[in-house]
Symmetry: C2
Subunit: 336 residues, 2 copies
DNA sequence: GGCTTTTCTGAAAACGTTTACATGACGGCC
DNA sequence: GGCCGTCATGTAAACGTTTTCAGAAAAGCC
């Protein structure tokens, strides 16, 4: 038997309209009365019934967050960024993580409908058709989707630029025969990183590439490392498209008696916390994931507040090269 | 202008009552009519307005999750466990992470009120008074709170048992002078781990303890490691109350020229993914965090469905010792 | 075929808010 | 002092569902 606005009105000796106005800070209620109402509401521990409120205001003050099967630091940082930004705006977040396929994603999106004022989506399965099919009339902001649809807002991290910087660094160290362990084909992150890698190579004479397929898991990195170890003409350096694969590769190389960075240089992407604790510590590319989340939420909130506005630009967050031990100049290590 | 139940009713040539019944699977509507209604609803892309529904059913089908400032794998695993269990039951989860103090936690809890059917809480700030003060009439399940209140449901991980097992292992290796790097005093996790450590020591003749204060951060572990390195009578082994501190300690020891495990054994707690990539790989204690989340959600859902039931038992999830290189037997390494 | 019982359907109330509109009080102006 | 604005307040409709209750249709029975 929860206390409603009527109870507050009766107890305070005013109408429900006045209570509503006082509580929502409308300026058309006299100071003294407002104070009295607020006092009564507090005493009665009145808390507005959200459902009733959003039934009439058509706002839920909640936004949905749809994520794929993410792990560890990436996931928690993303949520943290979103959560902080949301809290600052008085919004709640409805999280649904780890959907495995497009059908699941669609079902989740469907279920969120009507519960949220907008959605934040990161998923390898969304494209323009998917969105128009499953999201009717709900503002959306995409994260790292690689969708070049001018009608949808998207936030990205600079995968291409980061990969380019890492590769350029390897080249600058004098390496020329460079291998890449790719991410799962078809995903935006993976494709862009490969693209950046190739851009960097193209800029240097005599540089050659070796492509090894990976899927962002440690296992795939390990397999790639074994493949590299078995090569007769071994590359000088390896760029793994994420840190987990770099770790797998590092272990495989070590197992094969190949030293990093003495025998081969290695760089990753993401700067996961482990990166700085490996031996050797891992050169990698850092991106502020929490910022990605926070900015995505800001854009979404903005769009929700003025839905008419057409500006659906795509923002890209910078990536920063972090140089560590794993790709020290070969010359420095020939004797190490 | 979203499509409502009335639109469906008009289009299908029936009353809203029938539509409602058909959609909710009540068995009092004729087969042929039900099929027709469902077909129309689908064609119109009708999706029920949650607010209206929960206004009358007094159910939101959502549960709140209140978490402290957690990082990395712990956070993501916890959410994953909760999310999976919630999805299986058709529940949505409203997440609020990283609250920094009791006031923030209270405000968040307040804001969730009326939006959720129950809450899952993990927070160092909650006690019986806090709960009764800020949660009126909302079912709650605590995670790892160390609250021995028979009226509230709680799920724990076996901090004590895990710490005891790790310490016992160190002792079994022949170590006797054992240091502990503690967690922040006053928190359940930290206190229980210290307790388990002491229980293990008490069971062995001639064992002695050295207590170093930590706060679960890598920095505090590093400081403790420096302190240990500076001791004239150095311990044989160190039990760090979590893996991050173990890492900090490991680095400090290495900086001081002390080898693990040759010169000193080291064990941690949590089995974070980094643990198996350190050199030496870290002996630690593993707990299934996703299971903690999933079970907590199950208990909550259960309680929501029959609120009368008084059984508020506290469940404890097992912790498992994972032996790795960091505490190999001293004898094996004297020559290494 | 009329009666009773059962099955299905529809009208309307209820949920707790917000807000458009109406009303009343009050003060200023002539 | 009567008239007119202005301001504060209250009344009631509206939001989109579910569900109770009563009534209609169908079915069974003699």
């Amino acid at each position: 038997m929860a206390v409603t606005i009527k109870d507050v009105a009766r107890e305070a000796g005013v109408s429900v309209a006045s209570v509503s106005r006082a509580l929502n800070g409308h300026d058309t209620v006299r100071q003294s009365k407002r104070r009295h109402i607020l006092e009564v509401a507090q005493r009665l521990r009145y808390v507005p019934h959200m459902a009733a409120r959003s039934l009439i205001t058509r706002r839920t003050q909640a936004i949905g967050v749809l994520l794929p099967d993410l792990h560890g630091e990436f996931f928690s940082e993303l949520i943290r960024g979103i959560d902080l930004a949301a809290r600052a705006r008085g919004l709640h977040i409805l999280v649904s993580s780890s959907h495995g396929d497009a059908t699941e994603a669609a079902a989740t999106l469907q279920a969120m409908q009507g519960r949220v004022d907008g959605v934040l989506v990161m998923s390898p399965f969304v494209d323009s058709r998917f969105l128009s099919e499953h999201l009717h009339d709900v503002p959306v902001v995409l994260m790292n989707a690689g969708l070049d649809d001018p009608s949808v807002i998207e936030l990205r991290i600079d995968n291409r630029g980061g990969a380019q910087a890492a590769t350029a660094h390897l080249l600058a160290q004098g390496h020329r025969r460079i291998a890449i362990i790719t991410g799962p084909g078809g995903t935006f992150d993976a494709d862009q990183r490969l693209h950046g890698f190739r851009q960097a190579l193209a800029a240097v004479n005599g540089a050659s590439e070796t492509v090894l397929a990976g899927d962002f898991t440690e296992q795939s990195g390990h397999a790639a490392g074994q493949a590299i170890a078995a090569m007769t003409a071994r590359p000088d350096a390896v760029f793994a498209c994420n840190d987990m694969m770099a770790i797998g590769c590092l272990i495989a190389l070590r197992e094969a008696g190949i030293e990093v960075p003495a025998d081969i240089a290695l760089a990753g992407f993401d700067d996961i916390p482990i990166a700085r604790y490996l031996s050797p510590t891992l050169t990698t590319v850092r991106v502020s994931i929490s910022q990605l989340g926070a900015q995505a939420l800001e854009r979404l909130a903005e769009r929700i507040n003025n839905p008419e506005q057409s500006g659906a630009r795509t923002d890209t967050l910078p990536a920063e090269l972090v140089v560590r031990e794993s790709c020290r100049r070969p010359a420095d290590n020939r004797n190490g």
